[in-house]
């Protein structure tokens, strides 16, 4: 009847989203939408609520005001668990386990993307030779890479990445951009936080500005 792409609702849409901590407004009202194949940069100063926004979208915090829709329907946390990956300040890696063991546990919980395996993902991310080293002994950048490997391995449509560029060298930053481009090309979407004006993303990404 109609062209499917003309009527497709956005993957995620927020209207007048606000969040309060003990009656103090943290951010909002905030409006934005995110379509499949889009990467958006969340911008704002320290304390403007970027991490809080991502934690809400991940389903760790509840919404105080406003509406969230997921593919046109009201957003419900239980429904898209596993379809969203959240990478926060804490990387969720066990220091006493190796990078490989950490990924095996994550794959056991979340499942595996078609055609990917723990070993080829670790090689892709640049951790070949460090697979069996306890995460405790890796450098901060290598830990970040081990956590980013999960993005490649686990099946998810929406990535919520909090400061993914922190601790990474230039090659690592390029790699994150490549991961994001590849994910968008496969029909995924991502929200990425970064403070200040510096963005390493190629081209002109969509921007979500946090107001205080």
């Amino acid at each position: 009847m109609t062209a499917p792409d003309a009527v497709a609702p956005p993957l995620l849409e927020a209207r007048a989203l606000s969040f309060y901590r003990q009656d103090e407004p943290v951010f909002g009202p905030l409006d934005f939408s995110l379509h499949e194949g889009e990467v958006a940069l969340v911008e704002g100063d320290n304390g403007s609520g970027k991490t809080t926004l991502l934690r809400i979208l991940a389903g760790l915090l509840h919404i105080d005001e406003g509406t969230l829709t997921w593919r046109g329907k009201p957003w419900r946390r239980e429904e898209h668990l596993g379809d969203t990956l959240f990478l926060g300040h804490h990387l969720g890696l066990k220091a006493d386990l190796t990078a490989r063991e950490n990924l095996v546990v994550a794959a056991g919980l979340y499942g595996t993307r078609d055609g990917r395996s723990v070993d080829n993902v670790l090689a892709d991310i640049g951790l070949a030779g460090y697979e069996d080293e306890p995460t405790r002994r890796l450098s901060a950048g290598q830990k970040k890479r081990a956590a980013l490997a999960g993005l490649l391995l686990l099946p998810a449509t929406l990535w919520l990445l909090d400061e993914p560029y922190a601790n990474l060298d230039r090659i690592g930053i390029d790699m994150v951009n490549r991961l994001l481009e590849q994910h968008a090309a496969e029909g995924g979407a991502a929200l990425v936080t970064s403070h200040g004006a510096v963005s390493f993303l190629h081209g002109e990404p969509k921007r979500v500005r946090m107001h205080v």
Partner: protein
């Protein structure tokens, strides 16, 4: 692009926690050594009188086990909260209560099971008759998982607070009273040649109830702790 099956998720969590405990084997030995030292103190404090030691043996071993378990309890979810793996567990497409049940099981295997293994030795040091040993072991097999489950709920409730160790002990010990009464009651009854099955059955009933309810309570408490 399908989610992981439930069985593999349970196995992944259980295996991870057991591997982590094995990498830190020293921590497993601590409660065992603690229990050994505490039991050794009793004859020094009370005198090496066989009849007296025999009378307190069951109760002393039970209370010592309980306190030894308390030592390791507050570490149950702490590292998971600190390194963010609890967030990843909560956000995974798996029933959280069941995953936490696996964590509690792993914790019981690594802290309570070694204690149960040395319990007959400790009771023997206090001259508990050999015939009563199986009853002591049954009582421990039912009461220690009960304490792990009750403790897990309290650990989850105090998850947000710093230095929760003492608070945890003050909250858990009153809840332990019925567990200690039934477990020690069974051992005492066996020692006097009376039927001991009833208190053991009560412990079993309480354990079944805790198995069903405690993981659910843990899941709710941890969700709230992270929502703050």
């Amino acid at each position: 692009m399908s989610h992981a099956p439930l069985v593999s998720a349970c196995a992944a969590v259980l295996r991870r926690d057991l591997t982590l405990a094995w990498r830190r084997r020293g921590d497993i030995v601590m409660p065992v050594l603690y229990a050994l030292i505490v039991i050794t103190l009793f004859p020094f404090a009370l005198g090496p009188e066989d009849a007296l030691l025999q009378r307190i043996a069951g109760g002393a071993v039970l209370v010592t086990m309980l306190l030894a378990m308390l030592l390791a309890l507050d570490a149950m979810f702490r590292s998971d909260i600190e390194d963010g793996s609890l967030e990843q567990l909560i956000l995974s497409p798996q029933p959280l209560a069941l995953m936490l049940g696996m964590k509690i099981l792993a914790h019981w295997i690594t802290t309570a099971l070694p204690l149960i293994v040395i319990a007959p030795l400790l009771a023997g040091m206090l001259h508990l008759p050999t015939a009563v040993m199986p009853v002591l072991v049954y009582a421990l097999l039912l009461s220690t998982p009960l304490l792990s489950l009750l403790g897990a709920v309290l650990v989850a409730l105090t998850a947000g607070t710093r230095r929760s160790g003492m608070l945890l002990a003050l909250m858990l010990l009153p809840l332990c009273v019925p567990v200690v009464i039934f477990a020690a009651g069974a051992v005492a009854a066996a020692q006097q040649g009376l039927p001991w099955l009833a208190p053991i059955a009560w412990l079993g009933a309480a354990l079944v109830m805790a198995l069903v309810l405690a993981p659910l309570a843990c899941a709710a408490a941890l969700r709230i702790a992270l929502d703050a």
